[in-house]
């Protein structure tokens, strides 16, 4: 009986551990780049900034929250947005990168609804934008399902 109880406890613990890992943020939903030399973009909006994350939507798509943080110079007049599943570069919230040319950091929270083109299964989010010259030295990108 004691052995059975221990086995049952182990089974319950494994189940709970599985649940916990299911809620951990999968690696494909995160991107971090810390660069020795900046990645440069020069031109009007809109071009891909070549940083993407993906998230797996359930059969009934739910909204997602995408957060982008960047350290850059020459951000004057630039705007940033998102390409969702290969579509056009759109703005799902704030996108202005300011008017100064010195180092600055900015964070953006973008909310993408199912009507914006989300689909069941894998969805890809790529940062895009442009305006003038832009040198990015570090950036993080994260996507999470709303539920």
């Amino acid at each position: 009986m004691t052995t059975f109880r221990l086995r049952s406890l182990c089974a319950a613990a494994l189940l709970i551990a599985g649940v916990a890992s299911a809620f951990a943020v999968p690696p494909n939903q995160l991107s971090r780049e810390i660069l020795s030399f900046p990645v440069s973009f020069d031109g009007p909006c809109c071009m891909s900034f070549n940083q993407s994350v993906t998230v797996d939507e359930p059969s009934k798509a739910v909204p997602v929250v995408v957060t982008w943080n960047a350290l850059y110079t020459f951000g004057s007049g630039n705007i940033s947005g998102l390409i969702v599943n290969g579509g056009p570069c759109r703005f799902y919230g704030s996108g202005s990168m300011g008017g100064e040319i010195i180092f600055r950091t900015r964070s953006f929270q973008w909310i993408v609804y199912p009507a914006d083109g989300l689909q069941a299964g894998t969805n890809t989010f790529t940062v895009c934008g442009g305006g003038t010259a832009l040198d990015i030295y570090a950036r993080t990108l994260m996507v999470r399902l709303s539920k």
Partner: protein, 157 residues
């Protein structure tokens, strides 16, 4: 007896799953996206007319409210949150520096705020409302033009 024990442990596991799930869920009422310019001209504190709601469990947990916005401002402006109709609290970073024309023309700047709302700030079990608020810090004639922005609230655990 053995079957009862197995069922008991499965029930415990399911209960833990049920408790854990809401902590990670973010219902749509907790998200807001605004895609228009809206002007304000007032000393602090007035409503910026944007709100999100969130349901607290019986054991109240802190809430993280995040606001990411484009803006122009002709004077220094305050931005914060009113919890359940209470005062415009100062739970963290609150200032928007002057930038741009204030009338929607020309470039905008952007800022992202993250506020941590503690249970002692007025959170209650059940539905909680978080209303964006603020106003000019010093100049009654200062104008704030909010651009595209998003507002979200989520439980801390």
């Amino acid at each position: 007896m053995a079957r009862k024990m197995m069922l008991l442990f499965l029930a415990i596991a399911c209960l833990m799953l049920a408790v854990e799930t809401p902590a990670f869920a973010v219902p749509p009422t907790e998200l807001l996206r605004v895609e228009q310019n809206t002007p304000f001209q007032s000393m602090c504190c007035i409503s910026y007319r944007e709100k999100v709601t969130l349901t607290e469990p019986s054991v109240i947990a802190p809430v993280i409210v995040t606001w990411s916005t484009d803006y122009q401002a002709t004077s220094m402006y305050v931005a914060s949150v009113s919890v359940n109709g209470g005062p415009c609290l100062k739970q963290g970073s609150v200032l928007l520096n002057p930038f741009g024309a204030g009338n929607g023309s020309g470039p905008f700047d952007s800022h992202m705020f993250q506020w941590v709302i503690q249970p002692s700030d007025g959170l209650v079990t059940g539905k909680n409302t978080f209303l964006l608020c603020g106003g000019s810090f010093t100049d009654p004639n200062g104008v704030l033009m909010l651009g595209f922005n998003t507002l979200s609230a989520r439980l801390s655990k």
